[in-house]
Subunit: 341 residues, 2 copies
């Protein structure tokens, strides 16, 4: 197999400088016709391709953007990507995706790789580890370097860049209010640990709706799932209470579907004895039986908006760009898990 | 905001050549100490980062691999990526993911971008459009260029590269055989159109199991879903037959879950009147009610194997590498959709 041909190898072959080869390939008249033809024929024969980074050195624009997401086997994040892809293609941009796998170090490595002349801007949702450590120097360095940056979903107040967030508090409020409206009196929430803004915002919306009604806030109705322990056991606690809930709001799809599974195994009738509503309109919610009501967080729309903000910054960077924060509103999707007949 | 600083801009600032700047930044003694210090201080002040191109030209290795998948909101493909990520990280490689969105042109663009000095090798699952058009020139050019290439899941006989495939025929056989073993006499299959190898291989396994038993192959029990039309209507045909099936093998998770939903709406009892088995062990299968039996195709393992083959080729490319084809075997995961009590 032929090894990859480079400017350097061609230069060596003809015993000339790399710059001469480059000029010959660009058909520059600074180089004699004879040498130009020889070099071009040789490069052709070996399928020489100009290195994209050489192009970058010239134009400084790669027409490529980078995305870093915390998880890849994740319906919401992939839906956001499909939104970004959709509009990026329309605007003539390529997209490269990297996964931090919830690791701070991996996020840093991905960011360095992308920022190194490969992309014109980066869209990121930070890893859990980054949020837990509160170490944001890599984002700050990126911004100081003049790289346009947009954060989505999980965002960081301290980092000065454009952001696209879901109205998580509003969504939590909507979901809880819906349970109250259908007559639930004892409403529990299954949420994430506090350092994840999205979970804590949804909890805030839940508390707001509960406090607005005549219902009492009950500590043992607030389950914060700790990733390091068995989720099923943590959820099952709710059903062993002497006075268990009649409505549950789960802040994501997996929590909601798992709650339904556990409740059904224990003989609860859904929705008549227990109404359940989730968050994220993924495939799972559609296929549970009964199908799950949920809060649509519009990942696709979030992707569109994230790219729009990034492109705006790429195009107006030189003029002293002001960052923007866009909030995507949520909607209820009602299905049989909360519709009592 | 400061614009990105480049070798070119530094060179202009000091009125010297790019090569002089580059040497000064590498602390070369060819450049006077005074100029070296000035250039380094300037580069530091403007947060200059060496462009990865320059690094590539030196080492020819980027320690990065590229992946091109046809769809991103897709459990199986993202599971394969998580396998690739897992082992790539262990081996010190970065991973960049691109999405073809089932488009030939997008696949081509992604491939050109990645091959242009950014990655050491590419792992790809071709788009439906590429398979339909049978235009494989971009893969052939890549190979001619000496870029290591591994294809997974959907593969192309004509392209000479290493491949990792699922034992789709074996999986289709296992699933159908299981339905026969639990007493189904009238077994239908819901599959893809023929140009997708994975669907046609699974159908082959189905036909093999049917023919081995005493059951007859019935044309109207083979539903090939045409993406351009409503899936629900195509599946519902089975239930309007005068002699409908008592067992259904669906070649993917969405087909299986949709079939269950349609059947339940029509009042069928699952599994007693109708047993259903799918393919791909995704989240949906776990959360339907009853949960779906399925064929595990081990996406994570497929990811590990794909990277192993690619790395082997990257490391032994110069020695006349021989391509390999690896087949990942499948297993049954039995759940209540086929367990009659």
């Amino acid at each position: 197999m032929k090894s990859k041909i480079t400017l350097k190898k061609i230069a060596k072959e003809f015993d000339v400088s790399i710059s001469t080869v480059s000029k010959a390939l660009k058909n520059s008249h600074e180089i004699s016709e004879e040498l130009r033809e020889k070099i071009q024929a040789f490069a052709n024969y070996y399928h020489y391709k100009p290195n994209s980074l050489a192009l970058n050195l010239r134009s400084q624009k790669t027409k490529t953007i980078g995305i870093i997401i915390p998880e890849i086997v994740h319906h919401f994040f992939t839906t956001v990507i499909s939104g970004i892809e959709h509009i990026a293609n329309e605007k003539g941009y390529n997209v490269m995706i990297c996964v931090s796998n919830e690791s701070f170090e991996k996020e840093l490595l991905n960011m360095e790789m992308l920022a190194n002349g490969i992309v014109d801007g980066i869209i990121v949702s930070p890893s859990k580890e980054t949020l837990r450590k509160k170490d944001f120097k890599h984002f700050e360095a990126l911004i100081a370097n003049g790289m346009p940056l947009v954060m989505f979903d999980r965002t960081i107040d301290e980092v000065k860049c454009s952001k696209v967030i879901v109205d998580d508090e509003g969504g939590g409020y909507l979901a809880t209010k819906h349970l109250i409206d259908i007559g639930c009196k004892k409403i529990a929430i299954i949420t994430t640990e506090d350092f994840l803004t999205v979970g804590s915002q949804r909890t805030k919306g839940y508390l707001k709706a509960i406090k607005e009604s005549d219902l009492a806030v009950r500590e043992n109705f607030i389950i914060c799932i700790d990733d390091k322990h068995d989720m099923n056991e943590q959820i099952a606690q709710l059903f062993s209470l002497s006075d268990p809930p009649d409505g549950i709001f789960a802040v994501n799809e997996i929590y909601a579907a798992t709650t339904m599974k556990i409740a059904q195994k224990l003989g609860w009738n859904i929705p008549d004895e227990l109404a359940i509503i989730g968050f994220t309109d993924g495939f799972i919610s559609e296929f549970t039986n009964p199908p799950l009501s949920t809060v649509a967080q519009h990942g696709f729309r979030m992707g569109l908006k994230s790219f729009e903000l990034l492109l705006d910054e790429i195009e107006h960077q030189e003029e002293g760009y002001s960052h923007r924060i866009e909030k995507i509103s949520t909607d209820l999707i009602l299905r049989k898990s909360t519709i009592k007949e």
